[in-house]
Amino acid sequence: MKSVAAAPEMTSAEPTPSWMTRSRTWVGAAAILLVLPHIPGLNADFGRSLLSQMGIAAVFALSFNLLLGQTGLLSFGHAVYFGLGGYATVHLMRAINHGLPVPVPLAPLAGAATGLLFGVLFGSVTTRRAGTIFALITLGIGELVYATTFMLPSYFGGEEGITASRTRGPALLGFDLGPQLQVYYVVALWAIIAAALMYAFTRTPVGRMCNAVRDNPERVEFVGYNTQRVRFVAFSAAGLFAGLAGGLHAINYEIVAADSVSALRSGTVLLMTYIGGVGRFIGPVIGAAVLTWLQASLSGYTSAWLFYLGLFFMAIIVFAPAGLAGLILMHRPIIRMPAFWRVLRAYAIAFAPALVMTIGAIVIIEMSYRLSTQPELGTRMRLFWTDIDAATPWPWLAAVVMIVSGFVVFRKTWPIVAQAWQQATTEASVAAGAR
């Protein structure tokens, strides 16, 4: 059996930190979540809404990483559990609107239960296979559920979806979920609980067995474990937390529609998790935050947003398979070394030609999109504070020159970075040896 698992440079056994450090990390995380919506720039409704979306995406991505990072299962249909959890929550909220005495902040529990239910149901079929086939099966199940939502309009509401109000219900501790700030705190509370539970899951014996199944399923079978059962447990747990995220989504948007189970959403969570980094627990959180922020800030400016996202994703796969978390944590050993400043300087030098190259590419992409998808807006456009006309050859020529020259110079600066990096790691290893 060929293992499709094993993401690169996976630290299968991150050393378990001491109890003190761990609790300090979690308390610190909670404190950050507490003050985030009050720092300038994020203290208005837009910022708080963005933070809520990030929290929801982070729970969803963490649940996805229970499969991909922990168990080595690549799923193309994880949105199924997110969406079905969302539908269950929105229906519960409707019941609350009609007088059911349950506080709305507890409604995501219905989403979690539904996610678990369908995780168990579909997991019993999908986890019969691992590897490539597992990926294809999850894709098929995703399409099945997506198509079914349109066939049962009374439960799923078709394209328009199901709506409910989060404010019409009994208040819990004075929380009526009117202001976005309160919604954020509900999301943040659930997010940190879910994150702590998922972290705890990775430390349990079954969580460790998940790692073993990821790294060497054959050996696990020989030792006497049933790999299918381990995959099933991981899959069900992932379904539970995805359902919880879906429930939070329902509270935040007060609407759940067919797009919440779509292949696009399954793909988005995959991109978030992988870009963030599957080998570290914090990776999916970083990915969720970065992508949510990019989406919110870029999709308003450009219709080519998905193209940029795709390029970003490909660049991560080819150049940084450990993801953003891997890139950041790579610097930890050298951060106190004198040569760290040389590394930063080398980055700054390499950044300039890379920026020129990127701007050239953006100009070409934006002009092409304008010509093919929005011809009604004409060929004149404003990019990087410059008026250009895509009907003339000059902007195209300038962009090509920028890309080519940027690339050539970037190639020349790369040895500088490599050399600085080499020096810093040497210093770090010498320092480690001295200790």
Binding site: K2, G140, M314, S368, Y369
Partner: protein
Amino acid sequence: MLELATVSLLNGIVYGLLLFMLTSGLTLIFSMMGVLNFAHASVFMVGAYLSYQFARWVGFWPALVIAPLACGLIGAAIERYGLRHVHKSGHVAEILFTFGLAYLIEELVTMIWGRNAVANSVPAVIDFPLFSLFGSSFPAYKGLMMAISIAMFVFLYVALKRTRIGLVIQAALTHPQMVGALGHDVPGIFVLVFAVGSALAGLAGVIGGFMLLTQPTLANAIGPIVFVVVVIGGLGSLGGALIASMLIGILQTFAVAIDYSLLDALRAAGIAVTRASPLYDFYSIKVATAAPIVPYVLLVLMLIVRPRGLMGKRDV
């Protein structure tokens, strides 16, 4: 009834063979390289667009040759300059690479040809009735498609099972070092396999382009069905892919033609079901409406009964 059955059967075979054209290239690449090419349906879409473009410039027959060749070149470039470098990071990275590629190709196609469907109509040279059956005529382009699809099967089967190069290719998957030591160019073989697989997808795109709508969502519309077909057939098995394609093609075409629901069946059996009864929505789904989920239901059933697929041999 006989009329409906015959016409549906014929249409089902046509659709099934179209699916097979797509799965053949995918199966070739998977069985030879162990890589599941998620961008396969996207290459198919590129084939459809290129044939549309070339047919406008130089006519249909040259386009039928040029578009697949161009797709083959694209495939070779993908393998040589992309996939090869990801190979060392494992299979997940490879699948994700092709997945990202599918994203990019969809956006690239949008960037060049726009979001709306292009007017990719059947060329006049192959748009005449071949024969007629129960009053409805069978167009020549469908006949051409069937011929090409069957030719693909024969070509692949003979090339892989009966030729020396086929043997070398198969050996290169399991024993790359040994095959390399015997003097064969293993990386070159992989480029060749990927190019041929992509060219097959391109060829399918030329024909499939005017049977389906040529628009940027084409790959997403057909892709999942193609992947389900390879799972049902048994990943990597050419014969299984053919049988599964035909099965899904015929079943789905028949389902579209059936305008009854469970409700009608219950009523015929004398069970009264009203709007107030639970699951009314479920009972009232017409079989025709449920046709799109037929492949996926079949997938689930297959997994429960025979997880390795119809003709799948090994656990992959």
